[in-house]
Subunit: 146 residues, 2 copies
Amino acid sequence: MPRLNLDEARRRLTEARVGYLATTRPDGRPHIVPIVFALDGDDMFSIADPKPKAGLDLLRHRNIRANPAISLLVDAYDERWERLWWVRVDGTARVVDEGAERDTAIHLLRTKYPQYRTWTTPFGAATLIHVERIASWALEETDPAD
Amino acid sequence: MPRLNLDEARRRLTEARVGYLATTRPDGRPHIVPIVFALDGDDMFSIADPKPKAGLDLLRHRNIRANPAISLLVDAYDERWERLWWVRVDGTARVVDEGAERDTAIHLLRTKYPQYRTWTTPFGAATLIHVERIASWALEETDPAD
């Protein structure tokens, strides 16, 4: 199966603006949600929006607290299918309600996403992902020198 | 939580060019892969590309054969976050190796995706998804009359 070289896969993962986070529900069914995230080495960070009405007890958080295994995908759909590619992270996640790690998440996310810089409402809990494996797929071979 | 009305969610699901399919591995970890698909009522269809070297025994198929629960997401990322939305299907999937249902999948996919029409190599197995629930999220309210 054609793959991206690891440097290229990491570059695309770092630059991706959105990712799709899959977790497993306590009953074994999968759950999936889009997230914005920041990558720093083998650590990925995302954070819950404030949702006063719904509370901050998101389903993804409940799933992760019960089963930390996650899979996160980034891609870029293109009608020219020869250009299709994806990068997938398999890893483990933790929900961090407060403290230095959550502060780091907010800092990294504000650096990557200007949209977060103007937010004055409090954020929710952070999700910290430890990257254990990076898989990728691409139809077109990429130049390792890219 | 703001939602799309069901007609609008179905319309966006029907028109989406790519979706993200989450399944559960036998060990409970989630798996995720992008797919192209066609929706017909409460049935969704996708098909495996021919991959002679790798065989057609895709991980998603092995997962579905062991645990049919799936979750499929479509979205459209936009830097104007007030325009973000997603639609998610929860359902059950079956892998169909041959026969009339697979022929229907090929027909519907060729109707939606011109890219499939010129393929002369044989396709792999089809994945048939029965839609059990459609969930959605959107920051901007949509007009039910849209």
